[in-house]
Amino acid sequence: MKINQLRKIILTGLCAAIIFVGVSLFRIPIPALVGRPFIHFGNTFAVLTVLILGFRYGAVAAMIGLGLFDLLNGYAATAWLTVLEALVLAAVVAVVFKGVNYQQKPRVLKLYAVSLAAGLIKLLTSWLSGIVESMMVGTSFSVAVIRAFLSLPATLINSIVLFLVVPLLYVALAKTVLQRLKI
């Protein structure tokens, strides 16, 4: 095995760990009337990972990082939904990143296009998985749709943060470490 490929496999595992830590440690509580919602950076880090490692490895990292978190924290029954969401997110991010041709002509605006797409698709998949979750506990379809809608505000805030933060972090990474990384 080429050492560079091994390195990339290891890095994928480590990025998955960073994503996991992004959910478990990087949390900002958001003020709300009910419950204790918080912004977490799991999805943000997942998008960054896809930008850094490309679709194949990035998607695996995202699926492992986010899926493992659910599995180890008592959300095993819905972990498969999280994993699917991660896969879709990775695919969209990878396609848009390629589409805007960032690698050839790096412009920050293009990164915002990527993160916008990521934020929107996250919104959509959260809604869909919300529906499936409700159906799993036996609500009727119309109730599932409504319920999924009403829990969107929290996802929206997360998506907005994702949209704003990904370009910021990617630029910071590109300026410091990515140039040294040869994979």
Partner: protein, 283 residues
């Protein structure tokens, strides 16, 4: 900048199933401008102890006074900035906290956070670069292109840049080669001579003996001794009981003493060892 600990206890994850007592009923004082060393085996609570001085950790019980700041279990996270500005910490392997794209930006990060204007902060950063023996040509380079030893210096400069009155050093030279080690220890000694209170965590008894004037010995979350280095390093039974090493010079002096050599008092530094041998042989 006197520091006073009064019956300080710290319990990690106090209300979880994995509660762990990191500090148990610790009391001591550190005088303004002193050079204090903290020694003890790994896991004895040294790092836990020093993180209370700038309230990165808060006591579960007890009280800490750092000049006019008082830290108790009730202390809120707000308004800690003035304290944090006064107390600089060089953590273990500080190069692992570098993040900016240029050396100068990284060094000026602290002062800017503490409210200094960008221009002034960068000016200060250049001064600090010189202080840690790095050429000012490095200022615009990426810190990640530097060698390990240089990165360490940049990180230390970043802490010094806030011009702290108290400087906490957690094994600052671990992993450096002897030359790098020597130069940094001299830098800290110089800062101490200029009035900075220094608190050094170290496993290197030579350094402790040479530079400090007060030694705190930690064992299993307790402070088991607070004394001068001379008293501690010449107390063989104490060292043996607590599995602490003695400085090389003390060890060597003991070998000589066993053969019949007479020392006025057991030396704890190389300079003292040499002086006493010369005195004995020269007369």
């Amino acid at each position: 900048m006197a520091i006073i600990f009064q019956n300080v206890t710290h319990v990690y994850q106090a209300d979880g199933p994995l509660a762990y007592t990191g500090l148990k009923d610790i009391s001591f004082q550190i005088r303004d401008g002193s050079y204090t060393a903290i020694i003890g085996r790994t896991g004895s609570g040294k790092s836990t102890l020093v993180q209370h001085i700038n309230a990165l950790l808060k006591p579960t019980a007890g009280k800490i006074t750092v000049s006019d700041h008082i830290i108790t279990p009730e202390t809120k996270n707000k308004h800690l900035k003035p304290l944090r500005k006064k107390v600089g910490v060089v953590f273990q392997f500080p190069e692992q906290q570098l993040f900016a794209d240029t050396v100068i930006k990284d060094i000026s990060f602290g002062p800017k956070n503490f409210g200094m204007a960008e221009k002034d902060a960068e000016q200060l950063a250049l001064t600090m670069l010189k202080k840690v023996n790095l050429s000012s040509e490095l200022a615009q380079k990426s810190p990640f292109e530097l060698s390990g030893g240089q990165m360490r210096r940049v990180a230390i400069a970043g802490v010094l840049a806030s011009q702290p009155d108290i400087l906490i050093l957690d094994e600052p030279t671990a992993g450096l080669d002897p030359k790098g080690h020597q130069e940094l220890m001299e830098l800290f000694a110089q800062l101490n001579r200029q009035g900075t209170t220094i608190i050094l965590i170290s496993h290197q008894m030579e350094d402790v003996a040479q530079y400090s004037n007060q030694v705190l010995v930690m064992e299993k979350a307790r402070l088991i001794r607070d004394d001068t280095p001379q008293a501690i390093f010449t107390d063989k039974t104490f060292l043996q009981e607590h599995q602490l090493l003695q400085p090389e010079s003390t060890k060597f002096a003991r070998l000589l003493a066993d053969r019949g050599f007479k020392f006025a008092r057991l030396p704890i530094t190389t300079a003292d060892l040499v002086n006493q041998i010369v005195k004995e042989l020269g007369s």
